[in-house]
């Protein structure tokens, strides 16, 4: 199929529009859920939508989208309420409450589903699609309902942006400001249920959890502020939605849900590995560069010390001796130093290993290193500087959904910071 044929395909356009709507909403609302550490709430709410779908179907007597989505939303809200009540009223912890509500609601949904199958016969075919999503069965009218819901949810986020942001990052502070924190948190949770409802046809109840979590986590790797994160999550969600929907429309018998989820998971994997400044690969390269720089400095300092010890600025240090001193090969470090002119090879007797001499530039660099940035200060100040490195390295504000280990991954920030501090003294 050519690109033009793809664009003019009515079904595909409908599907792509639906996927785009879903991606935007789940990205935006998922960002809040992930930052509030409610990722698994999305899982529970998406499974819990099943009985609501069935009840909506039973109530309307047909596959009426309004009734089905309404039922799903009501079931989601009830599930969220049940989780809250279970953790507040009993000694069950959040994990057990989430698992219990998830499996109970899903089981009830299965029971209702079989009830509908026995009663309605062929009419239930439309309901099974809600389990894994069946984008091809989506109608323009369905997309309009989805878009309406999405607009309502996004409008709410836009209206209460500041409040939601505050509740997400610092609920205690929000309470001291007199904000209705419980109501705002409930609103955010119910809006996750709205995202679930929007995704039902596209991804299905079982996999909708991933659409809440994945775009938000992927977006978080690239940016450190809530606004850009929400926008980027929406874009990533939209892209995965459209990609999954298009692939599923092209192939035969491929459920949409798994494809959309796999696309989103791929986005997460790429983001975690490659995001600049935060990605695993990026961090690995930074670490390697730092390790090499440190190695070079140590070799240089050792050569400088040797030269001083022998009273000969041009003392040729034997490479084998340096290897023995550092307990491992120094050849890569030496050749890097030579490349920037800090050392040069020296003539040596045949049968001996390579010898190296520190150059004038190298000497200057080594002297600066020995003196350190806090030159002329007492030792206590130097220790203070070292202690400060651990905390001084954080570049931006820390997101609440982050784990701590990312702190030391900001390259250069700590060095620059401590240098500035040293200079200020």
């Amino acid at each position: 199929m050519s690109a033009l044929a793809l664009l003019s395909d009515h079904t595909l356009m409908t599907v792509a529009m639906g996927a785009a709507v879903l991606g935007v909403v789940s990205g935006v609302l998922g960002s809040f859920a992930v930052l509030r550490q409610q990722s698994l709430m999305g899982d529970t709410l998406s499974h819990a939508a099943l009985p609501g779908i069935c009840l909506g179907f039973l109530w309307a007597g047909s596959r009426d989208m309004g009734a089905i989505l309404g039922g799903a939303l009501a079931a989601g809200a009830l599930a969220a309420l049940s989780v809250m009540l279970l953790t507040r009223l009993t000694r069950l912890k959040t994990d057990a409450a989430l698992g219990a509500v998830l499996s109970l609601f899903f089981a009830a949904g299965i029971v209702l589903l079989t009830l509908i199958q026995r009663r309605a016969g062929a009419g239930q075919a439309g309901l099974e699609a809600f389990l894994f999503g069946q984008a091809a069965a989506m109608l323009r009218g369905d997309v309009q309902v989805m878009a309406g819901l999405a607009a309502a949810a996004l409008g709410l986020v836009w209206l209460f942006w500041k409040e939601f942001k505050l509740v997400t990052f610092d609920p205690v502070f929000a309470r001291t400001l007199g904000l209705p924190v419980v109501a705002l948190e409930a609103a955010l949770t119910v809006m996750v249920a709205v995202a679930v409802v929007i995704g039902l046809q596209m991804v299905g109840v079982v996999l909708m959890a991933a659409m809440i979590v994945a775009p938000a986590v992927a977006a978080r790797q690239w940016v450190a502020r809530l606004g850009p994160m929400v926008v980027l999550a929406a874009v990533i969600g939209m892209a995965s939605g459209v990609a999954g929907a298009v692939i599923s429309a092209l192939g035969r018998g491929l459920a949409t849900g798994p494809l959309v989820v796999l696309a989103a998971s791929l986005a997460v994997l790429v983001s975690i590995l490659l995001a600049p400044g935060r990605g695993v690969v990026w961090e690995w390269m930074t670490r390697r560069a730092e390790r090499r720089a440190l190695r070079g400095r140590r070799v240089l300092a050792a050569m400088q010390a040797l030269a001083a010890e022998h009273g000969d600025p041009d003392y040729p240090a034997e490479q084998g001796m340096l290897d023995a001193y550092f307990g491992s090969g120094t050849a890569p470090a030496l050749s890097r130093l030579a490349a920037r002119g800090a050392v040069r090879r020296a003539a040596h007797m045949p049968g001996e290993g390579a010898h190296w001499v520190i150059t004038a530039e190298g000497r200057a660099e080594a002297e600066a290193l020995m003196a350190g940035p806090g030159a002329g200060e007492d030792r206590g100040a130097g220790e203070d500087r070292v202690a400060g490195r651990g905390t001084g390295g954080v570049g931006g504000q820390e997101m609440p959904g982050d784990a701590g280990a990312a702190k030391d991954a900001r390259p250069g920030a700590d060095e620059g910071g401590s240098d500035a501090r040293g200079a200020a003294r």
């Binding site: 499974h47 057990a96 089981a107 009830a108 798994p258 796999l262 998971s265």
Partner: protein
């Protein structure tokens, strides 16, 4: 006799349901107490991937190869979750929410693509086919028994041996991992074995109840038991009992209403949890409300006693220590004042003579203990 039982579909179905619940209830308490209940959710989703992968590699759709192989997928999920969380870029809960949907999606996709003609389809993934377990039988020890029942029994036996043999170790590792580590018990390895057995149980139960309803059997009976008792020794048998009740009641109701048997069994475990939440002896909601009401009544009686004691020998006694003053001065309603007064009289703390109220000796002692607690014991 035994063969007659096994030939009865109703018995096979209920026994399979019970064994799913019992095998899960042996492991569930440790997961719940370690706050890892949602790992069972992750595991039971991703064994779908394991089952499809094992089927594609070996062609096995039941038996030890399938159970062990697919169970590895469950452990793989946990390893991946820990790996993602260890990068420090994603919180643990989000990591769970990322890993298992990806594996589940891959499993469903492979099913879509390659497995349309074997009996594992997406329908089974969700529902299980406990209603048909009696159709597929194997010969064991001269008896013809349903295949699912046999494998569930084997898995339940393995779980029982594990839990009984390593009871002390599991207990220490669950309640105090640091102590367990100090004692050289390798709590992490033990936890992984626990998760491996959970995935194995999920795989064995897959044919019967599907991937998602299995969560109900792992989480709900132990959660209910957790609300009913404070002792780990009792949590396991209570969980197994609940599984038995749920499988029998679930089968019966499913037959009556002609709905999914496995779904109904799972709903019944939920009903059991609901009952435990409401009626648990110490941690139930009703018990909590009653405790609160009792505390409120005790407080009211104390307030009455103190009120009477404060004004006992004073000039306002005539005005304060009468039944009518309780309404005005303590701001109690007519009914409340009467109830509290009745209770005080019944407890032998207050004496009533017409309108006037006075403290008995015991009531005076009670008031003193409240007003001047430092005198207590000192004589």
């Amino acid at each position: 006799m035994m063969q007659a039982l096994l030939d009865d579909p109703a018995f096979s179905i209920m026994a399979t349901g019970f064994l799913v619940g019992a095998a899960a209830a042996l492991l569930g308490p440790f997961l719940i107490l370690r706050r890892a209940a949602m790992l069972s959710d992750a595991i039971s989703h991703s064994i779908v991937f394991g089952i499809v992968a094992v089927w594609m590699l070996t062609g096995a759709i039941s038996g030890p190869v399938q159970i062990l192989g697919a169970a590895l997928a469950g452990v793989l999920t946990v390893v991946l979750v820990e790996l993602v969380a260890a990068t420090g870029r994603v919180k643990n809960d989000a990591a769970i929410g990322l890993v298992f949907p990806a594996l589940f999606a891959a499993g469903v996709l492979l099913l879509n693509l390659y497995a349309s003609d074997v009996h594992i389809d997406t329908h089974t993934v969700l529902l299980g086919e406990i209603g048909f377990v009696w159709l597929d039988t194997v010969e064991v020890a001269g008896l013809t028994a349903p295949r699912a029942l046999v494998w569930m029994a084997a898995v339940a036996a393995v779980n029982a041996v594990f839990v009984v043999a390593l009871w002390k170790e599991l207990k220490v590792a669950t309640f105090d991992p640091v102590l367990a580590h100090a004692m050289g018990l390798a709590p992490r390895a033990l936890f992984y074995v626990l998760l491996f057995l959970t995935s194995g149980t999920a795989v064995a139960a897959f044919d019967a109840v599907g991937a998602i309803l299995f969560i109900a059997f792992v989480v709900m009976p132990p959660a209910a038991a957790y609300l009913l008792t404070d002792r780990l020794e009792r949590m396991v048998p209570i969980g197994i009992t609940i599984a038995g009740v749920a499988s029998v009641a679930g089968y019966w109701l499913a037959m009556r209403w002609d709905v999914s048997i496995s779904g109904m069994m799972a709903v019944m475990t939920g009903i059991c949890l609901g009952l435990a939440v409401l009626a648990g002896p110490r941690h139930g909601v009703v018990a909590g409300l009653m405790r609160r009401a009792r505390a409120a009544r005790q407080n009211a009686t104390r307030a009455l006693v103190v009120h009477l004691a404060t004004h006992e020998d004073s000039a306002e006694r005539r005005e304060e220590n009468v039944a009518a003053a309780l309404r005005l001065h303590l701001d109690w309603s007519e009914a409340r004042a009467r109830a509290v007064l009745g209770e005080g009289v019944a407890a032998g703390l207050v004496r009533r003579e017409g309108e006037a109220l006075s403290l008995t000796d015991e009531g005076r002692r009670a008031a003193e203990a409240l007003l001047e607690p430092w005198r207590r014991g000192g004589g």
